[in-house]
């Protein structure tokens, strides 16, 4: 499964509805950028989709979900814990196998972080942590990518590096983005969220930054 058709998406917080009800269909091969003010409901929508597809997606949540006590390698390796038996994972915790190390290393090289291979996640900077979460999502290798502001702590060139890596790996994706230019550059479809509703849904080549600005 890579695309999805979801309807009746709603979320409430303290008895107050913050999102929906709305429907969202994403076809295979679509790269959707969610745009909108902070607090509009983008993060909530990403979480809802993740729940509704039963976790069958590579996820980069806003709080990243890294295990601070583990080094970068293990945090990335966690993306494929389901692919190995428990004994294999346990041994890896103490002494990783060469083929896994190579795979993670080449991924980190691409994201410009290979020197941090054994650094505990706790001692990374914000931008580095974000790239580790991205690497984990790529290593997970699901058919669908769900990402919530995956480049918010990265500056120009690094932001493009990460977005390129993500678009190469995932044909189908839903990414919440703050940066309108980046959204237009990498997404095939823009979905604008305003007050918990879809206020804009358009193919990205038919939009310009000026069309999106009213959402903010």
């Amino acid at each position: 499964m890579s695309g999805f058709e979801l309807s009746g998406l709603t979320a409430s917080f303290d008895g107050e509805r913050v999102l929906g009800p709305l429907s969202l269909d994403v076809r295979e091969g679509e790269r959707v950028a969610l745009v909108g003010k902070s607090g509009a409901g983008k993060s909530t929508l990403i979480k809802l989709i993740h729940d509704r597809v039963d976790g069958h997606a590579s996820l980069v949540p806003q709080d990243l979900g890294l295990v601070n006590g583990l080094p970068v390698f293990h945090n990335v390796f966690m993306g494929q814990l389901d692919a190995h038996p428990a004994w294999y994972n346990t041994v890896t915790l103490v002494r990783p196998f060469r083929k896994d190390k190579e795979a993670v290393k080449s991924l980190l090289r691409e994201l410009g972080m290979v020197d941090k291979f054994w650094t505990p996640a706790a001692s990374l900077s914000g931008g580095q942590r974000q790239r580790v979460a991205v690497a984990r999502a790529i290593y997970r290798n699901a058919n669908l990518l769900l990402a919530d502001e995956p480049i918010s702590a990265l500056d120009g060139p690094l932001a493009h590096l990460v977005m390129k890596a993500l678009s190469q790996r995932f044909a189908t994706s839903v990414i919440a983005l703050h940066d309108v230019e980046i959204a237009l550059a990498y997404a095939t479809r823009i979905v604008g969220i305003q007050d918990g509703q879809i206020a804009l849904d358009e193919s990205s080549d038919r939009l310009s930054a000026a069309d999106i600005m009213p959402l903010y």
Binding site: L66, N68, G69, M78, L81, N89, T90
Partner: protein, 488 residues
């Protein structure tokens, strides 16, 4: 007059303790208490490290019992912590940790005899209960986020190892290391019931008036505990844990007939064993309650309440000794030394020493409990005041103490005090073995008279009393919204 809830509860406990003083026996009965105390300090000042070859062996055995006991307790406690959410497991753990190491040792001595297993289990069993509780509290604190991100189909073992353990690893390690230090103290006092650890030699030297020998043992014990960071290294741990079982000594072989007899005959209440009726059992039980259990409970409660308040007062007096807000480096260094000695000496050893010097009454026990527990809490509170930044024009001296510092640390002070309430009671009961009429005294007498049925009932009552105080202490802490960490 309006009083804050924390102040009200403090005054209530103070009044209870003062009232308890009227009922308590706190006389000094020896003819020359100060001369004996002087001779003891002279002995500590002139330690004799070479008088007995047993000293090195005693230290080795103390360390070996501590390592095996704590390692076993930690492993079992860890397994129990994984199922700690089940109510019967909680009850079971509360029960096994409510019984003091020395009581466990006294029980095992009856059927395992002086076999190393007695000492190992005496430490491992109550420690399992403590580890299970604290480990499960630590594991519950782990961030649940990463586990939710794992691919569906990840096994529970992999999930646990990757997302829970690494997040709490540092806390688990710190707490286990702290418990190892406690284990050394527990191991040392097991000697008082005859196991080949430090307490055994300490008691021997003391009873013969060889204060220089006793002083040497105490000093070596402090050095052993103070240097833990130097000789307990993560890389050496496997060596210690695998090696320790070989240094427990041989002891005596286990007679399995004794084990069977203990469970099938000795601990069965006498009237049942002799085939008498339920009325006899009722009479047996009410006699036990009236002549031993109730006086024991009464004295245990008296002593606990006095010792608790004495601990509090000593803490409030002692924490400025190591606080950055008072005095110079010399005072603070000597303050640190005093508090380290106070908290490294097991209350049982302190009570034993003071009892030898002052004669049997509650006074040595109160002073011992206050010194040990006041040393621990005073250290924690003193360290806490060092993180407080005062305004530049803050008052100095007594006014700084009473207006700036005490109000700021009072809540955590109470939290620690109520946390240790149950620990103080457990120790109070056990000090009875030294001849103070708390529950331990009646347990010990029953065992001496080979009436294990009575001893078991009394130990059971002690455990229930501890569980009750633990619940009450937790209730008060929750009521006053007092937070505390488990490492205290």
């Amino acid at each position: 007059m309006h009083l804050s809830p924390t102040l009200r509860i403090s005054l209530l406990f103070l009044v209870i303790a003062i009232a308890a003083l009227f009922f308590a026996d706190i006389a000094i009965t020896t003819a020359n208490p100060w001369r004996d105390l002087g001779r003891f300090f002279l002995g500590v000042a002139t330690p004799d490290f070479f008088s007995t070859e047993g000293l090195a062996t005693a230290l080795l055995r103390t360390v070996a019992f501590a390592f095996v006991g704590v390692a076993l307790g930690s492993a079992c406690g860890f397994l129990l912590s994984l199922i700690y959410r089940f109510y019967p497991v909680r009850i079971f753990c509360a029960f096994i940790r409510a019984i003091h190491e020395l009581f466990w040792a006294l029980i095992f001595l009856q059927f395992f005899g002086f076999h190393p297993l007695t000492g190992v289990l005496a430490i491992a069993i109550p420690y399992s209960g403590i580890f299970a509780k604290v480990y499960s509290e630590i594991l519950d604190e782990a961030d649940p986020g990463p586990a939710r991100l794992l691919p569906p189909g990840t096994g529970i073992i992999s999930t646990f190892l990757y997302t829970r353990i690494p997040d709490c690893w540092v806390q688990l390690r710190t707490y286990t290391a702290y418990r190892l230090e406690c284990g050394l103290r527990s191991s040392a006092i097991l000697g008082f019931v005859g196991l080949p650890t430090l307490g055994f030699y300490l008691e021997t030297s003391f009873s013969q008036g060889l204060y220089s020998q006793a002083g040497a043992m105490l000093i070596l014990f402090y050095v052993l505990i103070a240097t833990i960071p130097l000789w307990v290294k993560p890389k050496l741990l496997p060596v210690y844990i695998l090696g320790a079982p070989f240094f427990l000594g041989d002891g005596m072989p286990i007679v399995w007939g004794n084990v069977a007899r203990f469970f099938t005959q000795d601990i069965i209440p006498a009237p049942l064993r002799d085939g008498e009726g339920l009325t006899e059992l009722g009479a047996w039980f009410s006699d036990l309650m009236l002549t031993e259990a109730l006086p024991g409970i009464w004295n245990t409660l008296l002593l606990t309440q006095i010792a608790l308040v004495a601990t509090g007062i000593l803490t409030l007096l002692a924490f400025p000794l190591i606080s950055n807000h008072f005095g110079g480096p010399i005072r603070r260094t000597s303050g640190h030394v005093f508090l380290v000695i106070a908290r490294s000496t097991p209350e049982y050893i302190l009570a034993y020493i003071l009892l030898q010097l002052w004669g049997p009454s509650m006074l040595p026990a109160v002073v011992a409990l206050a010194l040990h527990n006041g040393g621990i809490i005073g250290h924690l509170i003193g360290r806490q005041t060092n993180t407080i930044q005062l305004r530049p024009d803050a008052p100095t001296g007594y006014r700084r103490y009473s207006w700036e510092l005490v109000p700021r640390v009072y809540r955590s002070f109470l939290a620690f005090l109520f946390y240790r309430w149950e620990i103080i009671m457990r120790e109070t009961a056990i000090l009875g073995i030294l001849g103070i009429y708390t529950l331990g005294f009646y347990v010990d007498s029953a065992i001496q008279q080979i009436r294990f049925d009575r001893a078991m009932v009394l130990i059971l009552i002690t455990a229930l009393l501890n569980i009750g105080i633990d619940i009450l202490g937790r209730y008060i802490r929750r009521k006053l919204a007092l937070q505390t960490m488990p490492t205290c």
